[in-house]
């Protein structure tokens, strides 16, 4: 407390407050079960667990920045996983299947982007409210995945498929590397490119952006394509970790992704949001759920605590914002 100006600066931004919360959660959990929470085993297992929904939260963040939302991310993730699984099962020979894996990854990202084009057209050209456009398209994507699989899980992948979600590269869990690369990439895209500036400008004031002669339709379509591609990557991680693909995996991830984005300080009405906030929100969520798991709290209590955390942070944000 020697430097009050630093403290007040930290507390002035939502990200600063969230960083403090994340730190408090981490230290609290470390104190509650010091030998287990800080063990290498726990830290690695956390690094394997969070990237899949963290990547979905990134997708949610960029659509929310435009004042939209993408409720179809889980549908896209499962559809692309099913397509990739079918390719791998059909084409795998006796080798490790690296070539097949790369083909499947490429196709799945393309499928994700096509799904994004579909969403983008609905939102930009036809003028549907994003929440309804992506709710409807999400049902369609899930439905296609159900129709392709008949509702059952697809299994029997080549050994190489484990690389995406279930292996380490240079000793670091591969999904974590994937998430860091994507998070840094999205952050640079939002802050260092003209596209990112336009996107936030549109989110802050759509009418002003229109009068500034931005090509809004093209921009919105790109946003949903990006969201679709991110969802496809998350789908690959889920598929690889589960070593199977199914039409209804991870349905709880949808609300979780929205929750993380909002907790991370992203304004759901558009215009404001930073990737660092989303990363902190993901970490605090993961620390909380792993730590609580260790002291024997059930999975359902995590849901309760997530909800409390979300509303607590929202009250904190508005309460801090008012007396100005």
């Amino acid at each position: 407390m020697k430097n009050p100006s630093l403290m007040s600066r930290v507390f002035a931004s939502p990200e600063g407050r969230l960083a403090v919360i994340t730190l408090v959660v981490f230290v609290g959990m470390a104190l509650l079960s010091p030998d287990r929470f800080l063990s290498v085993q726990n830290l690695t297992s956390m690094a394997f667990q969070f990237p899949e929904f963290a990547i979905l939260a990134l997708a949610m963040t960029i659509t929310m920045l435009t004042g939209g939302i993408d409720l179809s991310v889980v549908g896209i993730a499962n559809l692309t996983a099913v397509v990739a699984a079918m390719i791998m099962i059909r084409l795998t020979g006796s080798d490790a299947g690296t070539g097949v894996l790369i083909l499947a990854l490429g196709v799945s990202v393309i499928v994700g982007m096509l799904a994004g084009v579909f969403n983008g057209i609905l939102v930009a050209w036809l003028g549907l409210p994003p929440i309804l456009a992506t709710l409807g398209s999400g049902l369609i994507f899930t439905g296609i995945a159900i129709a392709l699989t008949g509702g059952s899980a697809l299994m029997g992948f080549p050994p190489a498929a484990a690389w995406v979600g279930n292996s380490t590269t240079f000793g670091i869990p591969t999904p974590l590397i994937l998430f860091v690369v994507l998070a840094v990439g999205i952050s640079l895209l939002l802050t260092r490119t003209a596209f990112g500036v336009r996107l936030r400008m549109y989110g802050a004031n759509p009418l002003a952006a229109r009068f500034a002669a931005l090509n809004i339709d093209a921009m919105l379509i790109k946003v949903y394509v990006l969201s679709g591609a991110l969802a496809a990557i998350a789908g690959m991680v889920v598929m690889s970790r589960a070593n199977s693909a199914k039409a209804d995996y991870g349905s709880s991830y949808l609300l979780l992704a929205v929750l993380i984005a909002v907790l991370g300080g992203v304004n759901p009405y558009g215009g404001y949001g930073r990737v660092i906030g989303v990363v902190l929100a993901v970490l605090s969520m993961q620390f909380l759920s792993s730590g609580l798991n260790m002291i024997g709290v059930s999975n359902f209590a995590r849901e309760l605590i997530w909800g409390v955390l979300l509303i607590f942070v929202m009250i904190l944000n508005t309460w801090r914002a008012r007396p100005r």
Partner: protein, 328 residues
């Protein structure tokens, strides 16, 4: 007056009519009392949910927590009634459900009207909280022996009979409750100052405030009312299913909101009709129950509902966009 194709109500009614004609051609047995009562039965709980979601949408908000309120209410009421007051009649069970639901709705109301937090985020949070609280501290096991009052209500029928071909049909008494909910909500929305205030706030909060409407009070009422309806729907769901399963209902919320929007209510608030809401629910129930009659396998059901939502909301949105472009 000619048919107004820009209205969702017209479109949805036409789609329903078209669906029924096609279904009747492919299976003449479709046009029977048994099909009708099945569909009406399917619409009982969804109908109450939809009316609740409609009132929130009109007020300019959105509530995704009502399914958790319903699940919480039915589970807790069944447990408490079993333990404390098994002699309670069914009417009291419904009233207790509405009271518990209203209490949970009041939590939403305090956070939204009192603290001024965004409705989507608050209800997303309380969805997790209500459900997490119930599953952590109340229980996770199904209650298969419901309290006698709820069991009695579960057996009550408005209509019961046998068709010429020997199949049975029946219409559950809870259908009357749904009709009552629609009538009461219509009365509040269209015959009271409170109802006009709800529409006014949905249209523009600032204008409503300037003409002297107590915005916070009206918002608080909306979320309490929605909670009470959700609680009622929860008790009815458990009574009809004859079991209180805490994992039921949650997950329906977005489909219900989609049905309401399909019926012409706007997410932005201040606009929509109960007729449209009822039609939207009817269409969703029809697709869920009877797609198979048209020869479409049930694995394609969610694709069909997705396409319906996109067409139902896309056509008016596209027309509005073209009209705006012409005006500019």
């Amino acid at each position: 007056m000619k048919l107004d194709f820009a209205r969702n109500e017209t479109l949805v009614a036409l789609v329903i009519a078209g669906f029924c004609v096609l279904a009747a051609f492919s299976d003449p047995g479709f046009l029977s009392l048994a099909t009708l009562t099945d569909l009406l039965r399917g619409g009982i709980v969804l109908g109450i949910f939809a009316v609740a979601a409609f009132v929130v949408l009109v007020s300019g908000g959105i509530d995704v927590s009502f399914t958790a309120v319903a699940a919480f209410t039915m589970y807790v009421s069944a447990m408490v009634l079993n333990a404390v007051a098994p002699w309670m009649p069914w009417g009291a069970a419904l009233a207790i459900g509405m009271a518990i639901g209203a209490g949970l709705g009041a939590i939403n109301g305090i956070l939204i009207a009192g603290f001024g937090l965004p409705t989507l985020i608050v209800t997303l949070g309380t969805l997790s909280i209500f459900r997490g609280f119930m599953l952590t501290f109340v229980g996770q096991k199904q209650i298969t022996t419901l309290p006698p009052g709820m069991r009695e209500f579960g057996r009550m029928m408005l209509l019961r009979g046998e068709n010429a071909d020997g199949s049975f049909y029946s219409l559950h008494a809870a259908f009357a409750v749904t009709v009552l909910v629609i009538v009461v909500t219509w009365f509040i929305l269209h015959r009271t100052m409170l109802g006009r205030s709800i529409f006014a706030i949905g249209g523009s909060v600032e204008s409503a405030r300037r003409i002297g409407i107590n915005v916070r009070g009206v918002q608080f009422f909306v979320y309490v009312y929605v909670g009470a309806l959700a609680g009622l729907a929860g008790i009815i769901h458990a009574s009809m299913a004859r079991v209180a399963n805490p994992f039921d209902l949650v997950g329906l919320e977005l489909s219900v909101i989609a049905a309401v929007v399909l019926g012409g209510a706007r997410l932005a608030g201040g606009y929509g009709t109960l007729t449209g809401t009822v039609l939207g629910v009817a269409l969703i129930v029809l697709v869920r129950n009877s797609l198979i009659v048209l020869g479409i396998p049930s694995t394609w059901q969610s694709v069909a509902i997705g396409i319906l939502i996109l067409i139902g909301t896309g056509l008016p949105a596209w027309q509005a966009k073209r009209a705006a472009a012409r005006a500019a």
